[in-house]
């Protein structure tokens, strides 16, 4: 039995009311969205707030809409189940729908929200444990201690960004609409992260994520998400890979992007992906009929393989989340290749059953 520490609960009805409550209470207040990550963390005494501000009753925060300029705007409290099953999201931002569909299991997707997943706290096998468990090791850098158990002598926390939807949104060029005591602002998701596992985001106290905005995407946009995990449901990613492939009317790649998560504190963009793939012809017939192995003799297949090699060189999984780090490293090129091919084929998500 894991009991929650004592706190009071507030259920504001508007964003303004929630911000006022948070600003007044100061650091002793935390925000509750779906609760699927916050409540286990509170049960593990990773935080002991006096006030929990639930956003569940704020209607304006949930919903998916298509703005006049083609921007897809998703309210922060929209559940992951809603995002995953939305025809609008599936058609316009397939990588996001796939990523949302692979978060945890059905109950947790019914409860968990897109905003909560984007703002998910970093995770590490040495921190997401009970107080008793952590105390036995003398705690760690992220909470109550001075030693890192992942990197010997490490002075910077390397707990892993484990939010499946963030890398997908980064390939989509998404931005976050934030609102706080000093007003509204918008920040590109690419510029939102900090390489610090203790707190990996540029989000001030009492500042709320209101909406996730995905700019209009070109006609030939394709995307997919691949996830490595211990079991086919429930688990956080051991590796998460989002791929984007925009195909022009000339049947050549116009733009491409690959973002990998569950490595360290922030999702990492694989460098040189767009440069390697731009202008490479896409043969739809070959994609539909060729086996993955024979694809590698085509120009597209060769480019995908070289991106898989680039990713392997650039990504270095640490022993911060469960699963052998060497195995996760070996899976980087495999999942990058599979996810890019799935994007090209308008298929996915990629995961092992």
């Amino acid at each position: 039995m894991l009991r929650l520490p004592k706190f009071e609960v507030a259920t504001p009805k508007s964003v303004g009311e929630a911000i006022a409550l948070l600003a007044e209470a100061g650091p002793s207040a935390v925000v509750l969205a779906g609760g699927t990550d916050l409540l286990p963390n509170l049960k593990h005494e990773l935080a002991t707030p006096e006030l929990v501000v639930s956003l569940g009753a704020i209607r304006e925060l949930a919903g998916i809409r298509l703005a006049d300029d083609g921007t897809l705007a998703i309210g922060a409290m929209t559940t992951l189940e809603t995002v995953a099953s939305s025809e609008l999201v599936r058609a316009r931002a397939p990588a996001l729908a796939q990523a949302a569909s692979l978060v945890a299991g059905p109950q947790l997707r019914t409860m968990g929200t897109l905003g909560g997943n984007v703002l998910l706290d970093t995770r590490c096998q040495w921190i997401n444990q009970s107080y008793f468990w952590r105390s036995a090791l003398g705690f760690c850098l992220k909470k109550d201690g001075t030693k890192c158990h992942v990197v010997e002598g490490g002075k910077k926390c390397v707990a892993a960004a484990s939010n499946d939807t963030a890398p997908a949104l980064m390939t989509l060029g998404a931005s976050l609409a934030l609102e706080g005591p000093s007003g509204k602002r918008s920040v590109a998701l690419d510029d939102f992260w900090v390489a610090d596992g203790i707190y990996n985001k540029k989000l001030a106290h009492a500042e709320l994520l209101v909406e996730v905005r995905i700019p209009p995407l070109p006609q030939g946009h394709r995307g997919a998400y691949g996830k490595l995990r211990e079991r086919a449901s429930i688990d956080f990613p051991l590796l998460g890979i989002a791929a984007r492939l925009d195909v022009g009317t000339d049947q050549r790649v116009a733009h491409a992007d690959v973002v990998v998560t569950a490595l360290a504190a922030q999702p990492r963009r694989v460098k040189l992906v767009a440069e390697t793939l731009r202008g490479v012809p896409i043969d739809e017939h070959e994609l539909a009929h060729a086996e993955n192995a024979t694809l590698e003799t085509s120009a597209f297949g060769r480019a995908v393989r070289s991106i898989a090699e680039l990713a392997e060189k650039q990504c270095h999984p640490l022993p911060n989340v469960p699963g052998d780090a060497d195995w996760r490293q070996a899976m980087v090129p495999v999942f990058v290749r599979r996810t890019l091919l799935a994007a090209a084929r308008r298929a996915g998500p990629v995961h092992a059953d």
Binding site: L4, K6, G35, L39, L108, T110
Partner: protein, 190 residues
């Protein structure tokens, strides 16, 4: 300590509980509804699954204060709801779990049956993959899941008015998809 206004299994209830109590704690320790099980208590196992406005959620990760005014269905509510809707005896899902022996220790069973009930309410004729996906958030450490999947299939067949061929549910499927289950039955008899 505040007073919560909850709708549990169709009843409007007022119950006093501290703000930091989960729905699971209120169900078990205030209302005596111990059918919802306290397993891992941190969102891994699904034993505490209840239906919130008809959708499966984990009661161990839901603050009771945040579900006021919404409809909660626990395992204790399935039979009364079935009878109130004109049915006889237990909910067909419960009946099928009973007949298929889809349990051993029974700890996961409440959550399993509620996840299955939510699936069948949403989609009366799910595919095998949809059944597995709907139950993927509920862990069972005894049965190996086979009888659980058989029970859900039996409930689906009977609700559709299809009579499973004699003992066909033991082959993991019903009459009109019997061929797909041939290898299953082979493995079991080996």
């Amino acid at each position: 300590m505040g007073v919560l206004h909850l709708k549990i299994n169709g009843d409007d209830l007022e119950v006093a509980a501290p703000g930091h109590w989960t729905l699971l704690e209120v169900l078990r320790y205030r209302l005596g509804l111990t059918g919802s099980k306290q397993g891992c208590d941190k969102g891994d196992c699904g034993a505490c699954t209840v239906l919130l406005d008809g959708k499966p959620v984990l009661a161990c990760l839901t603050l009771a204060a945040t579900v006021q005014g919404r409809h909660v269905t626990t395992i204790e509510g399935l039979l009364p709801a079935h009878v109130a809707a004109g049915g006889k005896g237990a909910d067909p899902v419960q009946d099928a779990f009973d007949r298929c022996g889809a349990l051993q220790c029974g700890f996961c069973q409440s959550g399993m049956m509620l996840s299955a009930r939510a699936l069948l309410n949403r989609n009366p004729q799910p595919s095998d993959a949809e059944i597995k996906d709907a139950l993927s958030g509920n862990l069972c450490r005894c049965t190996g899941y086979t009888q659980i999947l058989q029970a859900v299939e039996l409930a689906i067949c009977e609700a559709a008015g299809r009579t499973p061929t004699p003992r066909s549910w033991e082959r993991a499927s019903c009459a009109d998809s019997g061929a797909a289950s041939a290898s299953d039955s082979g493995e079991r008899s080996a």
